[in-house]
């Protein structure tokens, strides 16, 4: 038996609810986007229901510790197809066992979630580190990113607390939405880039006059801080994998 859900977080939680309602035996969960009907397999489309989702979510919060609630949510944000089934099975396992079952690292779903969460947290941490804002002419600090996982919901607070006195936009170019901090709250936005000249970065003409100067100074600094006698390219690349170089001002040729 396969359950198909719409890919949303409440959808996933609803699937857990349905499972307990219907008491089906062996169920797998898949997202509608990746599901390909197989000839002889039975399947059920789960209709997302926020009330049912809330009940499952509250139930989970009662049963597992806060760090595990976070791991659960992070695993969901990984958007990895297999993660959805692990989340589904994990929730069932938790509801069927005594409190504390989440620390059974001998269980496949527990291990799976802790690994997904670790990858997502690492991506979150990398975004906090590697994002480089550019100051635009209208006074907003802007950056465009395309993280491996959907981490914007996780980094919002960090940037809001840290850059409380400047307006900023962090735009996820892959998922086509962004966060805008307007000196008061963080709002979700979408930008229509078709009008711009360059979708990756804001048009250089629109940048603040001093932007170029600071990026040059930063590149200089990056070079000066290096000790040539200690060159270690392998270690360098392990810390800053090449796919992140596009974000880094210091890695752009001047």
């Amino acid at each position: 038996m396969t359950y198909i859900f719409d890919g949303s977080f409440p959808g996933l939680l609803t699937a857990v609810f349905e499972h307990f309602e219907r008491k089906a035996a062996k169920v797998k969960l898949k997202a509608a986007t990746v599901f390909q009907p197989e000839a002889f397999s039975e399947h059920l489309y789960v209709i997302t229901d926020s009330e049912k989702a809330d009940r499952v979510w509250t139930g989970l919060q009662k049963k597992i510790k806060r760090d595990w609630i976070r791991k659960f949510y992070c695993s969901y944000l990984s958007e990895i197809a297999e993660a959805y089934d692990h989340l589904f099975q994990f929730a069932i396992y938790i509801f069927q066992n005594e409190a504390g079952a989440e620390s059974n690292y001998g269980n496949d779903h527990v291990i799976a979630l802790s690994k997904y969460a670790k990858s997502v947290e690492r991506e979150k941490h990398r975004m906090e580190a590697f994002i480089r804002f550019q100051h635009t002419a209208d006074g907003i600090f802007y950056t465009g990113v395309d993280p491996d996982f959907n981490v914007l919901p996780l980094i919002s607070n960090h940037f809001k607390n840290r850059y409380a006195d400047q307006q900023w936009i962090i735009y996820d170019l892959k998922r086509k939405y962004g966060l805008h901090y307007n000196l008061d709250t963080v709002e979700e936005i979408t930008i229509d880039f078709s009008k711009g000249t360059n979708s990756k970065n804001p048009d250089p003409i629109l940048l603040d006059g001093k932007e170029e100067l600071y990026s040059v100074l930063w590149k200089d600094y990056f070079k000066s801080a290096n000790i040539v006698a200690r060159k270690n390219t392998k270690l360098h690349i392990r810390h800053v994998p090449k796919r992140y170089w596009k974000y880094l001002t210091e890695k752009q040729l001047s």
Binding site: A129, F141, A164, Y214, D220, R230, E250
Partner: protein, 419 residues
């Protein structure tokens, strides 16, 4: 700002500051109050890495590289023929603010050569901190060098604005220091270290009684030793580190492999490779002391004054102490599990949680993250194969080396991993 002049200054003063290896931006809890700029991240953030693989989290610069001293190991020493420069207080403030706003950095690491005298220098450093905190409402990280010989009043005031303060031992022993910097002594370091430490304690004690006590060096103090410039053994180095951790509650001791900067018969000549592998082994030992419950005497002693080059210190200890092994994963104390080669802190924690649900098997250990090929020589678990004979430590070392050829034989100075 005159752009070209600033650019030149930044190049000179960042270049001169880079031999101080501390980059940590962790340990502080400063919040962004009143909607200013910045806060600190408890575990710190490395914003980028230099091509030598070191973390860059702070704008690390000297206020000036003019210096009245002549320490032989230092690029900024009086007798060295280098370009000199000095930032103004406002220039440092402006650079810090603008780098911070773009998310280039976690904060500022400000040090300085000693110009005129210690107090004059310390006053300027203090002024930078005050402007950032009071005028710019800046709450990002500040690591400030304590200038040896500066007055208690200035040091105490600086502690109200800095997150971390540090002062370098430079050479691991007094004899080594005297050789290269006859004007200096470890006592110049000990005095301010203990003064700051006492104040940290005092502020903490006040905090219990009074509600609003300002922060005082919330991320604590650190120091640095240069490795390989003078002939100390690893034991000398780590015993000094241990003493300073204990006596001054240091947050970190840094070990900086000496990069030759001039030809002098008392030191390694120009072009000598910095001792990067040795530096890495020292850091591994430091971790074993701080996170793995090892006493320094267990790792280094008169019989073993230097760390092994071919294997890491945790493995060295294990094969010298085979009487403790094999350890039963399903029964042993957490403390003993931590001592097994191939098992780190995270895996050890997971093991003690998971075994409550049933005896652990090999496949589960692997999933938990244990480096099983290494650990297998030291453990038993639910389905361990029956061992016919007891291997000697030396044999096990040979197995592990053969097994991880690529990792260890080729471990030259270019490929360093912590564990």
């Amino acid at each position: 700002m005159q752009f070209d002049r600033i650019r030149e200054k930044l190049n000179i003063l960042a270049d001169a500051a880079k031999y101080d290896v501390s980059c940590s931006s962790s340990g502080s809890t400063r919040k962004n109050e009143g909607k200013g700029l910045g806060n600190s991240h408890t575990s710190g953030i490395c914003h980028t890495y230099t091509e030598d693989g070191r973390c860059v989290s702070l704008l690390k610069i000297l206020l000036t590289n003019h210096c009245i001293y002549d320490c032989l190991f230092c690029v900024s020493r009086k007798s060295n023929d280098v370009k000199r420069a000095a930032f103004s207080v406002d220039e440092v403030v402006e650079l810090t603010m603008n780098f911070y706003r773009r998310n280039y950095i976690e904060g500022l690491f400000l040090s300085s050569g000693i110009f005129k005298n210690a107090d004059f220098t310390m006053e300027r450093l203090l002024l930078v901190c005050k402007k950032l905190r009071l005028e710019q409402n800046y709450n990002g990280y500040i690591h400030l060098k304590t200038i040896p010989g500066a007055s208690d009043e200035l040091i105490k005031e600086a502690g109200l604005y800095a997150d971390r303060m540090s002062i370098n031992l430079e050479m691991p022993t007094e004899a080594g220091l005297k050789l290269l910097a006859p004007e200096k002594s470890h006592n110049d370091v000990i005095k301010p270290l203990s003064f700051v430490q006492q104040n940290i304690k005092q502020f903490a004690a006040d905090k219990k009684l009074i509600k609003h006590v300002p922060k005082f060096v919330p991320a604590g103090q650190s120091t640095q030793m240069v490795i390989g410039a003078t002939p100390e053994s690893d034991k000398d180095i780590m015993y000094t580190a241990n003493t300073f951790y204990k006596n001054f509650s240091l947050k970190r001791v840094y070990y900086s492999g000496y990069v030759p900067i001039s030809n002098d018969s008392r030191m390694p000549v120009l072009g000598t490779q910095p001792p990067l592998l040795r530096e890495n082994r020292l850091y591994q030992t430091d971790w074993l002391m701080r996170f793995y419950g090892f006493k320094v005497q267990e790792i280094l002693n008169d019989a073993n004054p230097n760390l092994d080059v071919d294997i890491d210190p945790k493995l060295s200890w294990a094969i010298r102490n085979m009487q403790h092994f094999p350890i039963d994963i399903n029964k042993a104390d957490y403390k003993m599990i931590l001592r097994i080669p191939g098992i780190g802190v995270m895996s050890a924690q997971k093991i003690v949680q998971a075994r409550k649900f049933g005896k652990l098997r090999i496949d589960q250990l692997k999933k938990i993250g244990v480096a099983y090929n290494r650990a297998k020589h030291f453990i038993t678990c639910a389905d361990s194969p029956y061992q016919l004979k007891d291997y000697q430590g030396t044999q096990i070392k040979a197995f592990i080396l053969a097994d991880s050829q690529s990792k260890y034989i080729k471990t030259d100075s270019n490929q360093l991993i912590l564990f």
